[in-house]
């Protein structure tokens, strides 16, 4: 048995190699999972069909706005699958087996994020293509902005899901917390109900939520009205969220259900939250997001006023870039 030939991979960067190997397998497992197809493909498609039915008569600019909302819902849903998978793996003793191998929490978590992103891309592409060719949006918005926001958004919200998985022990707990967070993200980001409709204190509180950066960013980018500096702010917010959430989940990572989180790890969690709070405080101070949501809604209501189902005279969104 000792005579078996050995292959030396010591020259490869080890963490990258491990992350890539785990990512490939996670993608294969996701494609074989019915629940994955339902939550990651079927649910967004149901929203899309709903959107098609709802705004088919309106078309144009409204579709353009709706594309941003659809993409936001799909990207925010990223946290759902990764948290469920990680908790299942821990509950079933699968993570225990990985713990024996020379692979740390970093590659395990990074592979979750990467595979989730790779599996979300087809759904997001379908949404864009349906909006373009079925709902007849007038242009592609800001494609680079959409791509960057979708990429950072998927990664940041997946990392958020990994935090959920770190603090829950069972599938039931995970599903419950996911539901609460999902509803919070949906309703307090402007992705479902415009932020303008809420009392001012909720609007200000929403600026601490990464869901707001994503929702406002995608809506503005899909309408093609996003400024580069605003795009940089949105991506900066999501990048900070990604870093903080990844770091928190890495510190809280547990290979086994009965493992306890150390006090030191808990302190790291608090430290990692500081940049998100700082970002929220800065945005509350300069008020850029609230102005942008206001501007987006004004454009949308103006379009609604000017449009009739027969009319094709949609207002042309001005691309400020």
């Amino acid at each position: 048995m000792s005579a078996t030939p050995t292959m030396d991979y010591s020259q490869r960067p080890k963490y990258i190699a491990a992350t890539w190997s785990l990512t490939k397998v996670r993608m294969l497992l996701a494609m074989r999972n019915r629940a994955f197809f339902f939550f990651s493909l079927m649910m967004p498609m149901l929203f899309l069909i709903g959107a098609v039915i709802f705004i088919h008569q309106k078309g144009g600019f409204v579709s353009q706005y709706i594309l941003g909302v659809l993409l936001t819902w799909t990207v925010m849903g990223s946290f759902w699958g990764v948290s469920v998978q990680l908790v299942t793996f821990r509950e079933q003793g699968i993570l225990r087996r990985f713990r024996l191998a020379p692979v740390g929490a970093g590659p395990m978590l990074a592979s979750s994020i990467l595979s989730n992103y790779a599996m979300a891309v087809p759904t997001l592409l379908i949404e864009v293509l349906v909006c373009r060719y079925v709902l007849h949006i007038r242009n592609w918005g800001n494609p680079l902005g959409l791509f960057l926001l979708v990429t950072f958004g998927c990664a940041a919200f997946s990392a958020f899901g990994l935090i959920v998985a770190s603090v829950t022990n069972t599938m039931q707990e995970t599903q419950l917390i996911n539901q609460l967070i999902w509803l919070g993200f949906l309703f307090l980001s402007g992705a479902t109900i415009p932020l303008d409709s809420f009392p001012p204190w909720i609007q200000h509180a929403a600026l601490f939520s990464p869901a707001t950066y994503l929702a406002v960013g995608l809506e503005t980018a899909s309408m093609g009205t996003i400024l580069w500096k605003d795009l940089a702010t949105d991506i900066g917010g999501l990048a900070i969220t990604l870093w903080a959430a990844f770091e928190i989940s890495r510190r809280l990572f547990r290979w086994e259900p009965e493992a306890k989180v150390s006090k030191r790890a808990k302190l790291w969690v608090l430290a990692a939250l500081i940049p998100i709070f700082a970002f929220g405080i800065a945005e509350n101070h300069n008020g850029g997001y609230l102005k942008r949501t206001d501007a987006n809604l004004k454009l949308l209501s103006q379009a609604n006023r000017e449009m009739t189902p027969q009319s094709q005279n949609h207002p042309q969104p001005s691309n400020s870039n």
Binding site: M1, Y9, A18, L29, R97, L100, A101, G104
Partner: protein, 306 residues
């Protein structure tokens, strides 16, 4: 003389009020198959999981290949392989994918096709994990434990719950490991397994090593006595069987009377005479050569399976 490959000194581990391991010490030499034999709850799994780096000892030291599993991380993991008592793989991972995935996690690894062939998994290489039988899952676990060509292999109850045929297959694989000069630590509560496979055995009970040595040495400690197990129509007079000719030890276990005798024929003749005199009746009589179970019973007054 080279340093032991595994060295455990004064190891302690508690889970709340339960003391699972209480001052356990032993060492394993290179190329040795070493067994931790004991009943369920004896502290075997806690011990082996501390050796694998999965659990942190409360007290004591553990060295494997001169490395502390808690402090040397990946350097340690590259040198060991293990089968855990309770573990799993994703239901829908294929056999070949699983073994290739784990191979890719190590700097150096063996030929995965060769491992599949060696463990008779080639035909099942495309099968999902959930569709494998218990034996096939255990063969896959063994293949994965050896994927990095480890210096030390930990096998925690590797044949528990498997049918005799599969158990024999696993024994053959462990014999192969011995021939390949691997250092193997195996935990078990099967006497046959310990006697057949292990060069040396430590008998563990209540978190402590209560005896250790080669299986032969341990059985000799049982004074070479034959075990005679009898069932009677009525319970004998209190302690009467202990005074029968050549009986060195006498116990009652679950309604069976266990006698140890250095001269079995004389004991049986004397026993039959005694029962006739008492008006009692012999319902069954079985004789056994000394086993490690006898050593365990002598030391603890209990059977291994209790």
């Amino acid at each position: 003389m080279t340093a032991p490959v595994i060295e455990v000194t004064d190891l302690y581990k508690s889970y709340g009020p339960v003391e699972a391991v209480r001052g356990l010490s032993f060492s394993v030499e290179e190329g040795e198959v070493f067994g931790l034999l004991g009943p369920n709850g004896a502290g075997k799994t806690s011990t082996v999981e501390m050796l694998e780096g999965l659990r942190v000892p409360d007290r004591g030291t553990v060295l494997v290949c001169g490395l502390d599993p808690q402090k040397t991380g990946d350097r340690f993991k590259e040198r060991v392989g293990a089968i855990l008592q309770s573990t799993n793989l994703p239901d829908k991972i294929r056999v070949k994918e699983a073994i290739e995935l784990f191979a890719e996690l190590y700097h150096k690894h063996g030929d995965t096709n060769e491992l599949l062939r060696r463990f008779q998994l080639t035909e099942k290489s495309s099968a999902f994990y959930k569709n494998l039988s218990g034996g096939q899952k255990q063969r896959l676990a063994l293949a994965m434990a050896l994927v990095n060509n480890p210096q030390v292999v930990f096998l925690d109850e590797p044949t528990a719950g498997l049918d005799p045929q599969v158990r024999r297959e696993i024994y053959d694989i462990i014999e192969d490991l011995r021939r390949a000069k691997k250092t193997v630590l195996i935990t078990t509560h099967y006497i046959e397994e310990a006697e057949r496979l292990c060069d040396r055995v430590a008998i563990v009970d209540s978190g402590r090593v209560i005896a250790h040595g080669t299986p032969r040495e341990l059985k000799q400690k049982s004074a070479g006595n034959t075990r005679i197990e009898v069932r009677l129509a009525r319970p004998p007079a209190n302690g009467a069987l202990a005074h029968i000719d050549a009986v060195s030890d006498y116990r009652e276990l679950d309604g069976t009377y266990v006698l140890r005798s250095s001269r079995p024929p004389q004991t049986i003749v004397a026993l039959v005479k005694h029962l006739e005199a008492e008006g009692n009746e012999l319902q069954s009589l079985e004789m056994f050569s000394p086993t490690l179970e006898d050593v365990f019973i002598e030391l603890t007054g209990r059977r291994l399976r209790e």
